[in-house]
Structure formats: C-alpha cells, structure tokens
Symmetry: C2
Subunit: 215 residues, 2 copies
C-alpha cells in the first residue's frame, strides 16, 4: 500500500546488522529493563524478522548478558575517564560519590538491580555481573590506595590490603542508596551529605573533605 510499508529489510553487512541488534537491545534494556529483551521485541525495534535476531545471537541469555556488560562497562569507563582528569584521590572520591548519587543514571541502576536477580537463572549473566562488579571495585580500590599512600586518608589500625575491602564496602553502600532511589524518591534529604560523612569516617578523611560542593 503506502510507501512506508517496507516488505523486506535492506540487506546489510553482518557487522552492521549485529551492531543494530545490540544497540536495540541496549535501548530496550535502558527503557524497559533487561527482561524486556526478547527476540520479537528486539526484532521489531530493528525492523527485522525475529529469526534474524536469533541468527546473530547464540541465544537470548547471551544477548541479555552482553547487553548488561555493554551498558555497565560503558558507564565504568566513562566515570574512570573523568576520574583520571582530577588532581588527587580526595577530589576523585568526592566526585565519585557525587556523580553516582545525582540520580542521572537511574536507568543504569535499574539494569544493575535487575541483573542481580536475573543472574540467578542466567549463568552467563551472573558471570558478567561479577566481572563488572570487580571492575568497579578496582576503580574504587585504586582511589583508596592512592589516598592512603598520599596521606590523605587514614585507615588507622587496618592492615594493608584492606583497601580492597574498603572499596567493596563503599561500592555496596552506593549500590544500596541508588537502588533505594529507584523506589523511593522523597524522604531523604542530603543524600550526598550523609554518604560523604559516612565514607569520610570509613577512610579516615577529614570531615567535609568529601562533601560535594554545590555547583
């Protein structure tokens, strides 16, 4: 009938088509969640038959796992890049807390939380989740170690190697608070203030040093 009705999708190179598919899956995950990634859903977003999506992916579980990694790894790298531009560990930690808590990445947070649950029934995804958690932890650990080495942080009587443990702890706190904001918006004033104070206590930084400056 109308010219807009396209019977058959234009033939594209495998690389290009594969990119379209992973990009569509990414969009769906961010907008509707990882569990909304289905063969038909992705296919219709690309404008293609469902069979084609299956053709480019071994199975749906793999597509979900890959999409999770793509989304989360991009965020980690982006933040890590911004950290590198900052002068010292104190600024980096303060920036980290401020950025992750500002609510501008709720969609990514939702993906994280859903992945925790889905990993129970998707082994490939579970592995990716652990990988990405490790990546985040590594970034944080580096900052903590630098701070201790430079004398900005004081972990007191804690042994060496506790930087790893501390990094996990801080990461968990951030995760919990961002996940909370997924469900509960109001109620908490001064999110950043409290978290900063808590972390200051943990790493032995000067009170107020991790405070996010109002910009």
């Amino acid at each position: 009938m109308s010219s807009t009705t396209q019977k058959r999708a234009t033939r594209k190179s495998p690389a290009e088509r594969a990119a379209e598919i992973t990009e569509a899956a990414r969009g769906i995950a961010l907008e509707q969640g990882l569990s909304a990634i289905t063969l038909r859903n992705v296919a219709s977003r690309v404008g293609v038959a469902s069979g084609l999506v299956a053709h480019y992916q071994p199975n749906v579980d793999a597509l979900v796992a890959g999409t999770f990694t793509a989304i989360v790894a991009a965020e980690t790298e982006e933040v890590a890049g911004m950290l590198a531009a900052l002068p010292g560990p104190v600024e980096r930690l303060a920036f980290l807390l401020g950025t992750l808590m500002d609510g501008s990445r709720l969609d990514v947070t939702a993906v994280w939380v859903e992945a925790w649950t889905l990993g129970r029934r998707n082994e490939a995804l579970a592995g990716c989740v652990r990988e990405q958690m490790d990546a985040w932890q590594a970034v944080l650990q580096r900052v903590v170690e630098d701070g201790v080495a430079g004398g900005h942080f004081d972990t007191g009587d804690l042994e060496a190697g506790d930087a790893a443990s501390l990094a996990w702890q801080i990461l968990g706190m951030i995760d919990g608070l961002t996940a909370q904001s997924l469900v509960r918006w109001g109620g908490v004033s001064d999110r950043g203030t409290h978290l900063a104070r808590a972390v200051e206590g943990m790493v032995g930084a000067a009170r107020g040093s991790l405070q996010v400056s109002a910009r």
Copy 2:
C-alpha cells in the same frame, strides 16, 4: 493404582486452604524467587488444581505482593522484637548491623531485590515495597532518635528531623551490602567492621561502639 495417588484434594475450609496457598507461595518465593510464583507452581505445591489458587486470589500480582509483604513484614517484626529486649540505642544499632549482615537472611534479601525490579510492572507490589521500606526506616529512625536524645550519638551540626534522613541512609547502606553478598561472597573481609565504622561516623557514635562483639 497406588494408594498415594489422590484423585481429588480433601475438601478444606476456605480459611485453611487460603493459608495453605499463601504458605506455599511464601516457600516458593524464598526458594526460587517471587517470579516463580505462578498459579500452576503454587497449585502443584499445595497439591491442588491451578484453578483453585486463582479462586482464592484476585490475581497473581496480588498474590506476589501479598507474599512479599508477608515475608518482609515478618522479618521486620522479628528484628524489632529483638531490639526491644536490648538495653539502649547503642546496643540496638550494633545488633541491627550485626544481624542484618550475618548472611543468615539471604533468601529474604533476594526477595527484596527482586521486588525492587518487579515493582516496575506490578503496581500493587510497588506499593507494598514502599510500605515495607517505610516500616524498616521507622524502626531505624526510632533507634537513632533515642541515641541522640540520650546523648549516645552526636549528629553535630545537623538539624532535628535528620534522624529520618539518617535512618534512610543507613537502611540503604545495609540493603546494598546485603544485596552485594547475594552475588559476591568473598572479597570482603570484616564486613561488619567497616559498616560499623561507617555508621559510627554518620551518627557520631564513639569509634568501636557499634562493633559487633564476636560471640
């Protein structure tokens, strides 16, 4: 054939049957997750036709929401009860941190995390989640307020009413750390130690006062 083959389930009173169904749903949620609650799954666990489950519940979403509330409310009440038996706010806060982090309630934690995601597509569940979060927060807020009033905690320059905010914050931290332990077991040593130190920093308690004593 065999005497074990029961054609028809023994007829029971509505109250009794309803209890069986909610109990079955509870077991499924704890063992396999909230999303494993289906009419057929619950029915087979009770040993009954799927239609009967539907007969006792308006719809599956409601059963899921109700099951979430039952599981989580029971935990809150149990912990609140134990808190009441403790002498003061410092002991209560220390106990709270210690108990929630000891890994003995991972199944309940999994239910929490899944509910955060499922609430996106189940409005009734979303409401229950908010309710139960409020209940937890109220318990924590009470402890914090008592501690401030008794001079055990010192929130410094923070205004009154920040006890609410502090309670939310501590709750979020606990949630995140327990959720983390759902996926990642190793890696963190001294979970309790770090958390205790963080919270001590937040509420202005004496260092070590919230430390969980090795029992």
